[in-house]
Symmetry: C3
Subunit: 352 residues, 3 copies
Amino acid sequence: MSKSKINVGNFFEDFQLGQVIRHAAPRTVWPGDVSVYTALYLPRFAVQSSRAFAQAIGYQDAPVDDMLVFHLVLGKTVPDVSLNAIANLGYADFKFIRPVYYGDTLSATSEVIGLKENSNKETGVVYVRTTGSNQRGEPVLAYARWVMVKKRDKDAPVGPAVTPELPKSVPPSELGQAVPPIDVSAYDKALAGSPYFWGDYETGEKIDHIDGMTVEEAEHQLATRLYQNNSKVHFNQYYEAQGRFGKRIIYGGHIISLARALSFNGLENVFHISAVNGGRHVNPLFAGGTVFAWSEVLDKAEIPGRSDIGALRLRLVATKDKPCAEFPLNGADGKPDPAVLLDLDYWGVLPR
Amino acid sequence: MSKSKINVGNFFEDFQLGQVIRHAAPRTVWPGDVSVYTALYLPRFAVQSSRAFAQAIGYQDAPVDDMLVFHLVLGKTVPDVSLNAIANLGYADFKFIRPVYYGDTLSATSEVIGLKENSNKETGVVYVRTTGSNQRGEPVLAYARWVMVKKRDKDAPVGPAVTPELPKSVPPSELGQAVPPIDVSAYDKALAGSPYFWGDYETGEKIDHIDGMTVEEAEHQLATRLYQNNSKVHFNQYYEAQGRFGKRIIYGGHIISLARALSFNGLENVFHISAVNGGRHVNPLFAGGTVFAWSEVLDKAEIPGRSDIGALRLRLVATKDKPCAEFPLNGADGKPDPAVLLDLDYWGVLPR
Amino acid sequence: MSKSKINVGNFFEDFQLGQVIRHAAPRTVWPGDVSVYTALYLPRFAVQSSRAFAQAIGYQDAPVDDMLVFHLVLGKTVPDVSLNAIANLGYADFKFIRPVYYGDTLSATSEVIGLKENSNKETGVVYVRTTGSNQRGEPVLAYARWVMVKKRDKDAPVGPAVTPELPKSVPPSELGQAVPPIDVSAYDKALAGSPYFWGDYETGEKIDHIDGMTVEEAEHQLATRLYQNNSKVHFNQYYEAQGRFGKRIIYGGHIISLARALSFNGLENVFHISAVNGGRHVNPLFAGGTVFAWSEVLDKAEIPGRSDIGALRLRLVATKDKPCAEFPLNGADGKPDPAVLLDLDYWGVLPR
């Protein structure tokens, strides 16, 4: 009786191919979320920082930071998808579709698009396609994600393995959907903080974002609760003291937001993350660590039908307690540098 | 001269029976308070989390979380009522009367309804009835509270002891006042996160809310300042290092809010705390502790005139560093389990 | 190539007399900023705390806290003015000119009004006059500030020394600009928390604000990021561990806001800081320290043309781990008491 009403999360054998999950609970993006988000990361991109700037170039209001939208949508899915996950394996086909403004209410649904039991029969990989929508039911964000989830019962029967086909990258024709037509003549470079537009970046260019940010326990807990992400490993020192690392693990998305904010220095006009091609949390972060970041321009693309904005395919690497003047990624042995936390591949958008 | 303009708080002999205190300073509930509150506790009740959900069922907007309303009202009373309190003894006849929305301004008044000197003549019990009102002067919350307050001068004369009659519980006829008529057909159980309505709970049922939340110094300080609660013991390590515990004491209301948020798992549709029958802070909490919680259904009640909502009388118990699978409350000796922080008796409201 | 797009800040020889810098990035003051600010400092001044109170006396809405306006404007200037500063030397002619309301967007420009190389040729003093403006281009705050900035190259040639003439104090005729006409009859002293108006304070009067507030790492980091102040010394423990103090230095403005909030007890009706005559960060503060504060009335002034409000010239002193019953300032040797953090000279405004 005592646990009958409790959500203990889904185990691998609970998922069914084609199943659609409507996640609880919808979440209004309050006009205070931007303040807490700013206090957590120090973002400075002018379009999100200033209503006046955003409206001058064509937005109806300052849009909500892309990563805040992502964190809120992901947070909804945790109780159903990843409460029993032991690894966050990857993202693909991740696109922002519409701008989100303060006052909008976000909800999320996920469709199970793949299931593959591991050979140890103790875990399996669950693939979902998650869509975040606003209060009008319009999609604002969609992505595929796959996580390794525990089985409740090793002997539980499971269906045949199905692995979905997922694109290696989001094609340029699908970029910029969440960006209204921009009046580039009204985009004030001095106010934005940089003279560099799309044409000024070159493929292969690397940028050390130089600054670092130390993370405290209270900070990552505040962040992850703000996103209503109730994954157990972030908040419960009583259990984590007995766990793998002996301490609370910082939500991987916290590192993405920190690295994104640090990347302002050098990418000031890349005001929007339009799509994520893939990404990996290479190592966990714990409180007390200092996050540094660097970027590499992997590719450049024109966006069909858009003369106002162009896209840069960017690798964003975050490290722990290691400045990035030498762009740390892999060691001499080809394995990831143990200081690397994050290796993210995304399309950023900026004026042309 | 130096201290003449300073508020050092009232001592027991400063209170007069029947005295009405208008508390400083009024406080607008800003649209950012919900963000900070969410970042502090991870509440997920759909009515407060989503404007769209709240409006669909009949609220004019997402209402402010009940406990946030309480903390703000209580905070106003601290400088006048409890700055020299050494114990927070109890609450009774505690009712939410009207919904509060972002943009409303709360103020508070307290009437002294009882005074009883202790036999040691060093302290006395002060009973107040506090009313929180909005900017239109409409009451939104009322409660009786009693605290043990120091005397400034042991020899100061005091009046005869007066102990007010207070109800043991709030009757069902007084519940639901802050809930507009609910369109239950528009209440989306999947979005709210649970299929269980009023009819699905039984008296005697116990629920272990399973999750735990570790509290950091910065977090409880942010919370208590948000509520403008200037009680000295929460913020001043310089003094507390020399005090009873050697460290800052976490505001008891912080524990209530944490336990309430944890109780979402199992009580997802209990979207409103309508009344508090009584409650006790059994032990103090300090930073670093992990809070767990469990609930018991003490009683069920129909609310006269309301076919949309019903009430559950709930015991909410919070513990420190002790999971609640076995519902810890009292030890074998009948004394409270030393892990118990809070024992709260309230009426929660949910759809029928 | 790797650093070509990076802002490493200006060095002394990069500044030119008369140069005007438009700072990135504009920042909307969100309705959530007041919540985070309240959670950080526990301000209780009724005019800023309550929209209803502010509107009753003549404001169009609750104005944004003066110090929050200052922090946001200063934050904008850091990347251009003080990223390579090693000392924040002073402020003068610091005036609030218009009220700021939530929803306004602040931007900032600075003019270089003085340059003076130090005799060691390794550093120089840069004087700027900074103006913060709203989205209509109306100035809301202006101040002169001077900082000691490193030279990139000791041998770089610099121009002749120019030291601007700056007033020792702001004259009363320039006070109250950001305060609309106040209906003093509607100013409710009980709600504001004190019966003392302008006529009740005397020159020479000292007030011990009695309370103290301990500062955590997460708190000052949240604050300084909220202000988008990216000064390196506040966030990066990796570098600071190797630095002067071995730890992160708390932003001096954080101390001003703490001391201002503590000063409520005794100065409840001094609802506005109208001007700053000067100020000094006497010693640095680190996390774990407890801040206390005291004030002295240095002078009183009528404001020409205003019968509603008057001005008090106040010294606000903050200390670390030292209660202020004896108003610590200088030691027996005439040198500053090592516990003193801040010595601020400002004009506060209150009803007459």
